[in-house]
Symmetry: C2
Subunit: 337 residues, 2 copies
């Protein structure tokens, strides 16, 4: 299976680019937070004091310290490779590092980068662009257990919740693995498929490939994408739901979000409605699917209000509700046992 997935060699040098915007290094911050053991250092060539808390080093120094890949984990509008990064990327290639990028524009489409990579025999990973043949989903029952994070909308904490769950389950001795389906997740995990960028016919097939048969006691914690209630991306969410064949779903929601992100006239669904619709579709490939709990992203609330809303949801749904940042996810893991 791994052959056709994006497999990126670790450890990493995190490239923070040249901008002074904290938002631009969101993906690097995610990697440094969730996989500090994969990170040798950071390389920032701008003029501010931007940092993800790692040691600042040049590619050559990173290579000497064992780094294998420099990660372009940068977000900018349009997903373009900025001209101001090209010299830094070539410097890293010349120092002997592979390059991995989650941007829309391909590394291999920039001639200087492609030429340098060929000359120095380095790999270029354009992780949003999946290579190779994907199967059409077949819905066949697979062994092992699966949890999928679903959402009332985009950007509510589906990846964060899945990673927090993996960490807590591993701590308690579960055989559990995070399964990456988006750019940041793939860079954190080091492999995966960007599900929103596969051809529409292969959405569920790609998820089946990402989470194949496994030992009966093994848990795949699959990162969800989009929402059935976001009309831009619900096709992706449906294919994920069917391909995941989940035993359990965890509903992710941002407290106090009223409107669907970036779309006029669409309301975030109420939790009950969102749960019912997801369970009803998910039953097609796993009739025994259940909701395990709710992950409430309380970043816009004060502590008192956050705990109040969490309690309120628990009372309404008779299920555990957590905020991974505030409460951790142990209550949800308890409910598996």
């Amino acid at each position: 299976m791994k052959v056709i997935m994006n497999t990126i060699e670790k450890p990493y040098l995190l490239y923070l680019g040249t901008s002074d915007s904290d938002l631009s290094i969101k993906t690097c911050r995610g990697i440094a937070q969730w996989r500090p053991e994969f990170c040798i250092g950071q390389y920032y060539t701008g003029s501010s004091d931007l940092t993800v808390g790692l040691k600042q080093m040049y590619p050559k120094e990173a290579k000497e310290n064992g780094a294998k890949t420099m990660i372009i984990g940068l977000a900018n509008s349009g997903g373009r490779i900025s001209k101001s990064w090209i010299a830094d990327i070539i410097e890293a290639i010349e120092a002997g590092l592979d390059i991995a990028s989650g941007l829309h524009e391909k590394l291999s489409d920039i001639e200087e980068i492609q030429t340098a990579a060929l000359k120095h025999k380095r790999k270029l990973h354009d992780i949003r662009h999946h290579k190779g043949h994907l199967p059409v989903g077949n819905g066949k029952k697979r062994s092992g257990k699966r949890i999928l994070t679903i959402g009332t909308d985009c950007a509510v904490g589906k990846m964060y919740t899945a990673l927090a769950l993996e960490k807590e389950m591993k701590k308690r001795g579960f055989d559990a693995d995070f399964v990456a389906t988006g750019q940041t997740g793939i860079l954190i995990k080091g492999e995966g498929i960007s599900i929103d960028a596969v051809l529409a016919d292969f959405i569920s097939g790609a998820v089946e490939l990402l989470s194949p048969d496994n030992k009966p006691e093994h848990w795949d914690i699959i990162e969800g994408q989009g929402s059935l209630f976001n009309p831009s991306f619900a096709g992706v969410s449906t294919g994920l739901l069917h391909g995941a064949q989940s035993d359990y779903l965890i509903l992710c929601h941002e407290a106090n979000r009223i409107n669907i992100k970036d779309l006029e006239g669409f309301k975030v669904p109420n939790l009950k409605e969102c749960i019912n619709t997801n369970l009803s579709l998910a039953k097609l490939t796993n009739p025994n699917v259940k909701l395990l709990g709710v992950s409430l992203n309380c970043r816009k609330l004060n502590k008192v209000e956050a705990y109040k809303q969490i309690e309120d949801i628990e009372n309404r749904l008779s299920l555990p509700c957590v905020d991974p940042m505030l409460t951790g996810v142990s209550k949800i893991v308890d409910s598996i046992i």
Copy 2:
């Protein structure tokens, strides 16, 4: 809008290939049936008596009679361009025809074909491969009216029903247009986007592009794809449902089909369940969506049994049920008025 869609110049010479299998010319047969006015002739270079009932002619003769494009409307396993067709395709290019193919393998990936097209300044249309930038769906209310054919499964008659409906509505003076979302539909219509082959993030956006704002009295009859109950392709169906923003759905079903096509262990849903799930998802982008009726594909029944099943469905659902081949679709058009 048309700029970024596949627009194929008419009229056509239909290329029937070299095989003796009637199944291989299914797409050509569809074009000859639904758009005889677009077809100048057929070109068959095999050794059997395969025909779609058009005059047999060489590309040169077709060109002299006004043909603009030779259509490779052939189905074979894997969607490859057979070596035995290449000389015929080049002959057509040299005669001054564009080439349009619905196969998976690209015409432009075959060097001899690409070279000939450049030399003779002919266009190559690989209609499954959409060119250009697609928008992300936004769910904004569009003017004009829309009907979408949905299905209990794949290959139940969604395209056929949409085309029959367009024909009947036009006959009665409606301002109605078929909107093509699959290979055969695109070749019949001469334009469209193969929705199953766009990137997953753009499914609903592609449908919004295909069926933009229109006059209040205009009807788009949108060809559906897949089924919410087919776990291979339900992501495509969901995106289509949201992008179509339908006023009316027509449920297509094949009489006596029990199992989902090509998938072990999946049953065709009962009509009521299928209708409810589709309406519930479709409401996200059009809260007023309604089911207009059922199109029952009775090809495996005798006439008596067919009429019995049609009547039975009408009694159960209190909605018109038709078989476009057997009864025509006028009962469904009646119910619009």
